[in-house]
Symmetry: D2
Subunit: 360 residues, 4 copies
């Protein structure tokens, strides 16, 4: 099964395992003539990099990206952009004691049934480490969107029971939890310390906002913009729910409340509200795109858990090694990047929607 390719017009193919030689991505379809440097990509990878605070794994990866192709004299060439990130700190021995045991909350069991083997070294391809390749590719999409005034920003909305109650975009980069609310970040930090002490882990919510999209991106049926966003965001390991706009709350709303009424201002159509989260009927409606991803707690905990092993015996597993007590802060940039990949794909796909806009 070939499930490591994402997108149609702006297409990404990723590769790499947690404890293999490298991870990476090939971006096919980025238009020619866009300025692109390794630094444009590196700054996003740095946000995902482990080892930055007490709340992330101690694994120390430089995560330096190398552009192998697709850029000439500082500009994209229109041909595949290959991005390589070498793994440097694999510590495979950490996994030897759980080599034959299926870790609860992980893909181990299904993976073994599907492929007939299991890469016990940190999950192999199922590891969160593969998201590094998504970030590298997403950075290229973010650069493309930026050329057209489209920005995509994500941040931590909640960790465990602690939700932000104010929004200061500057604050996001100042605390290790990427929360735009300093006080909430402190409370969340305290909560996480409790989790670590309890040999336990926490979940949380990432919110992502895209601004600057014109109305008209997306498609009316299967490839609805929100459908593609859900696909992209739910494909990030540990996400168990995705909301667009008002999300689950719409089920309790009424049409008269939920509909976004329209009006003209300065010659442009505006919406009085944005319950839709910027997408109506699968097509961007000119409002900001808003989505939320709900992350489960990190499944790797050091507490003893009941499990079974590959020979079909009951066993108890204790997962040592270096694990994030919460995946959310490092996942923020992944949500941002996956969202950008979807929007870039829709932007390119939309180029051929109308005969009066075709170029030849």
């Amino acid at each position: 099964m070939a499930g490591s390719v994402f997108g149609t017009n702006f297409r990404v193919s990723t590769f790499g395992e947690s404890h293999g030689k490298a991870i990476g991505a090939v971006v096919d379809g980025c238009p020619a003539g866009m300025k692109l440097s390794e630094q444009d990509i590196q700054k996003y990878l740095d946000r995902r990099r482990p080892g930055q605070s007490e709340f992330t794994t101690k694994r120390n990866e430089a995560d330096k990206v190398e552009i192998l192709s697709g850029v000439f004299e500082g500009k994209t060439t229109g041909t595949p952009i290959a991005l390589l990130i070498r793994n440097t700190d694999q510590h495979s021995k950490d996994y030897s004691n759980i080599k034959d045991k299926f870790r609860p909350g992980h893909a181990d069991l299904g993976y073994f049934e599907k492929f007939g083997f299991r890469d016990y070294r940190g999950g192999g391809r199922s590891s969160g480490r593969e998201t590094g390749a998504r970030v590298a590719a997403g950075a290229v999409a973010l650069k493309l969107l930026d050329e057209f005034g489209i920005e995509v920003h994500a941040y931590t909305r909640s960790i465990g029971p602690v939700t932000i109650s104010s929004f200061d975009p500057e604050e996001c980069c100042k605390n290790p939890l990427y929360m735009p609310d300093k006080k909430a970040a402190e409370q969340a930090g305290d909560f996480l310390k409790d989790c670590i002490r309890d040999q336990d882990s926490a979940g949380g919510v990432v919110e992502c906002i895209a601004t600057g999209l014109p109305a008209g991106l997306g498609d009316p049926v299967f490839d609805k913009l929100d459908a593609r966003l859900s696909y992209a965001v739910m494909s990030i390991g540990a996400v168990k729910a995705v909301e667009i706009g008002d999300g689950t709350a719409v089920a309790l709303s009424r049409g008269s409340e939920n509909n976004d009424e329209l009006y003209m201002e300065n010659g442009r159509v505006h919406k009085k509200t944005n319950h839709s989260g910027g997408i109506t009927g699968g097509i961007s409606d000119g409002g900001d795109i808003i989505l939320r991803a709900y992350f489960k707690p990190t499944p790797s905990i050091s507490r003893p858990q009941s499990s079974v092993d590959q020979s079909g015996e009951d066993t108890v597993i204790e997962i040592k090694g270096r694990h994030d007590p919460v995946i959310v802060p490092r996942a923020v940039v992944v949500v941002e990047c996956m969202s950008a990949l979807v929007i870039a794909d829709a932007l390119l796909a939309g180029q051929s929607a109308r005969i009066d806009r075709l170029r030849i």
Copy 2:
């Protein structure tokens, strides 16, 4: 943009507008040798059919499906199965007074920007009517899954503020709201009558459960089984959130609570709990698959709403015509069918995952 094809190995291409001649689907990739009749498909279409109760549009469509190809002597041939449903009751004139106005909550504005025109007759391709084609195609997938003991069932979990508090599968088909709780169905009916009287509409939640899946279906990265399910379900018009398993609640959980511990019984691996909703790391884990789709209230309401028209003038719109006060009951079978399409696709894709299982 070619966004009306869904799936890779079990691939569906749909067509048709609300007020065109017909809707339909072409299913490409269904294995040869499966029994299939029009009645196998018709029974699902009948569940989606309008005009069945006071809570659905009065539009009267027989929705009779015709198999045009791909079946020979009662069995599938392995070649495309074309399914045709003629539109018979279009009432185009109902839309003349809103011809130039963008309906709030609908795709109209984005559609107009994207394509440079708008099919004012009930939304054209953006109409919920296109889901009829999905149901026809999904019925084929359901038949395929059934051959392997996989069943997919959806039902209404809530309408507006009314949520089921008991579960009787027999009851689902007895009330027009497809709720498995008779009392809740009555309360929801009362609530909907209020909505109709208020010229307003309601939202709700559909839950879908798939049983009988072995562990090992799905893929570890982009084509995670839950990612594909989210893509499929979010592509149904009016869905604004999708949950798998515990869904949004996982953000408040801890690893020690959320992980599903494993044990052996009768020679098979079992899970003590099913917080994961049957999918871990993107691959089926042997538990029942559970997902929920949150539907917004029907945007077509007859109350006056502020809007703008195609010439860029402020206006007021009152949407007459025949509209469902809630989309949920008719969407139940659509969620079921879209889920089945995803699982069937994963089932076929998985055939080539292991070299020791290849046939030649």
Copy 3:
């Protein structure tokens, strides 16, 4: 296996068997705003229609196309265009005596091994009848290309040993063999009468020329324009060789002869020669695109042939029924249409090749 979808941006999904209810196509990705009527399509179908001369099967099919969707008020909507052609003259009984025998030169044996059954009624999906759906879809592509001054024309270059020696485009439609050389058409007609008398069949060559393409369509690696054209044309049943430009002759040429030298005239780049057939390095070079398809003789002949049956016994087969003694004249429009599908796809794909040409 889902092998009935062709193209990426301009995407066609076909369905239907020789002796089923209908054949048809769904065109997904055609830009919105293009004028399109059933007559635009019918005129191409009429060229493929059987029963037009003594050299084609006597099967009498009206091949009337019905546009089911994707056109509103005479223009394309940007959504799937479904095209339906009912089968009306199936004569299934003609096939009863060969029901269990594999016909030499046909797909029967491989088909049976692949799908575990066989549609003995004229080959089912393997029948040349499926090309009717390609013609319907290709007619839409031809219309799109025509809007931009690109024309695609095919004709019969040779039948058996008779090759054209002059070229009169008007003549093509005047003789039943679609040859642009009246004298050659007469000689070919005599040759075919010999074949019929001998209970035998003939092959031939179709040549196709596309004019008006700008330089710059196609892609440098796998999706070279000539690679896609070869894919498209070789997918027509009975084609066993495809040439672009000088074709097989290039193997005997030298670089100094084969290179097309460039020069300026009237402010545009021109080529002194067109050995390349309009495509260099996979990308259109501004010259006319020229390709040739070599068709094998119709495999259905009434002479006795050695064969085997489904139970694995040696047998002798005599194929009665209504068969074309040569497939070439009716295949001319199929080559034209498949070529147009490829060029239309490249035209749409090329819309996002350069950042300085993106629209938002």
Copy 4:
């Protein structure tokens, strides 16, 4: 435009330019559990490597492949196999004098129109060097096929006017032209020396034979096995014609000659002849697959040629640098690898063709 991905179930994504840092490929969809080492791949790359004789460019590339992912403990994991080949000998300065001139017979002009720029260093992505990535990926496909007894072998059939007249498979690897006929190889060598002296270049023909395929691989309509092979082989730069089986000769044949009659022997169906080249109606028929690719002469010749430059002025170009006087010998392994990619893809796709063969 995303045109660097090939295949559906066995899917390859390639990247890299002639004078960039590296070339490479990502293979997605190879089944888990297959033994694979770098040496398995290297042996094919060594056959394509330049600098091996007086008849190939003097560019000296080690072309050492590194497997970055997808292999664990010597076996494939079912996840993407990334293959990296660093460029080590680029000599960019060779191209400075032709920086602004369009080389006749090359993609330069079309490339410039398409992408708005041109990588003057050896053609960038249009260089034959990209085929190294195809060989690396194809080697994985060849290994997979070998597990099932399917072998694919290509060789030089002719160079310029010199065609083989005998066939000794051992001889292929003994002469630098990969001809299975020692005497022909000597004559072809003499012919090439003439070409070099004349500052000219030659074309030729590669023939490829695949043995061991069962009947039943391929698809009846667009994804015919021969259509996919033509697509694959024509996508190799410099190929201008592709033949399957009797190829162009079928146009002169009669049905009674061209049909391959069937008979039983040892409980299996056999064909008396193999005019079809192993594929009938798009599906393998149990015979050897036979195809031929016709290569044009290398367009880079040092003779003065008329051309134009990017500013639209007539000019004369003389191409210095290190160029193969004939591309054929190095292309042999590329044809072999591209053919293997197609067959491997069909093999995997075919796994889900019949419901009685599905596994769950």
